[in-house]
């Protein structure tokens, strides 16, 4: 079924997304007050991914603020606190716009990639 071709059809786009993410990180590290450029890179990255209907890997997606597109670095652009009012979780607050991300501490939680269903569907298609 041309697995390699299908797999690498968007390789350039993934490389570009990856590069833009790292560039945004680098710019913020070199000049910590340069939020504008960092935001510009991340928003470009998001539009690129959007145009090609590509999902951004959670490892990347969790490192930027989804509202103002700035890279979240703890102590510099975000505040990380653990709360356990109703259910224990981590709260990441963007210091620039106040948007929060919550991560629950659920032992049973798995990323979609790590779930067995994501793999079974592919196998089923290969057999038919």
């Amino acid at each position: 079924m041309g697995k390699d071709a299908a797999r690498y059809i968007h390789k350039e786009i993934y490389q570009r997304v990856n590069f833009l993410h790292q560039a945004a990180k680098l710019v913020l590290k070199q000049d910590p007050s340069n939020y504008g450029l960092c935001r510009y890179y991340i928003s470009t990255m998001r539009t690129v991914a959007e145009k090609h209907v590509i999902r951004i890997h959670p490892a990347i997606k969790r490192t930027y603020c989804k509202h103002c597109n700035v890279i979240l670095l703890s102590g510099q652009t975000c505040r990380i606190r653990s709360r356990s009012t109703s259910e224990p979780h981590t709260v990441v607050t963007c210091l620039l716009c106040g948007t929060i991300k919550r991560f629950m501490w659920r032992a049973s939680y798995q990323l979609w990639l790590d779930k067995p269903e994501a793999w079974l569907a592919e196998k089923g298609k290969a057999q038919t």
Binding site: K11, D31, T44
Partner: protein
């Protein structure tokens, strides 16, 4: 049923590509902070966390006065809390961001970005794998590549003062390339009516600005049509 396998394929490549590049780039020089970067970090940190009155140095003391007999100071009224609708709309207005033209920055700040871009483009075009580079394919890839951080120079232009300007691209918008020149200046150059060159190892890529008038995010999806180019 039809969509799921493709989604899986995509995510797998995403993870792989991420690992490949991150090991190559982040492990290296990007992690080390130069002394210049450290001072900029400290100044920005202080600017963010100290109250604004502290950062000011009183130059003109004669204009300043302090009342002695009134021991109680009036408390300043605090504004509304940051979180809420007001803050959000404020940020939205801030998001339309533009680099200030002619503002001084240091060229050395963007050198690691250039280094990273070179590695990225080497991996994308794969210079090392084949001695004879497939030039049309490389050009095709170059069109879809990201140009933030690449060393660019203006070869020809309708406006004579742009000719010969070279530097690192730090922002690409629909109509402009924003460059940082080695003289620590930010210059924005319109794409229209200019021809740009990128030198990579032994190859020279030429970009016709007139055909490049697309947003950088949309460029990858767009098909390039041959337009009549102007004689410059």
């Amino acid at each position: 049923m039809d969509q799921e396998p493709s989604a899986k394929d995509l995510t797998v490549t995403n993870a792989e590509a991420y690992q490949e590049l991150s090991q190559a780039d982040l492990g290296g020089k990007a992690n080390q902070m130069s002394s210049g970067a450290r001072t900029t970090y400290v100044t920005s940190f202080l600017g963010k966390h100290l109250p604004t009155n502290r950062l000011k140095t009183d130059t003109d003391l004669s204009a300043k006065f302090e009342s002695v007999d009134c021991s109680r100071r009036r408390k300043k009224k605090r504004g509304k809390s940051k979180a809420g609708v007001g803050a959000r709309t404020k940020v939205k207005a801030k998001l339309d961001w533009k680099l200030e033209c002619g503002k001084k920055t240091s060229y050395s700040t963007y050198l690691p970005l250039k280094e990273m871009w070179t590695k990225y483009i080497e991996e994308l075009i794969q210079f090392s794998s084949s001695p004879n580079l497939n030039l049309p394919a490389a050009a095709q890839k170059m069109m879809k590549a990201d140009l933030h951080g690449c060393p660019l120079s203006v070869r020809k232009s309708k406006c004579p003062s742009y000719i010969g300007v070279s530097g690192i691209v730090i922002q690409e918008t629909r109509n402009m390339f924003v460059l940082v020149t080695p003289c620590n200046e930010i210059k924005s150059i319109p794409k229209a009516n200019s021809i740009f060159t990128i030198v990579l190892h032994d190859y020279v890529f030429t970009i016709h600005g007139n055909q490049f008038i697309v947003k950088p995010g949309d460029r990858a999806a767009k098909k390039f049509k041959t337009k009549p180019s102007l004689d410059l």
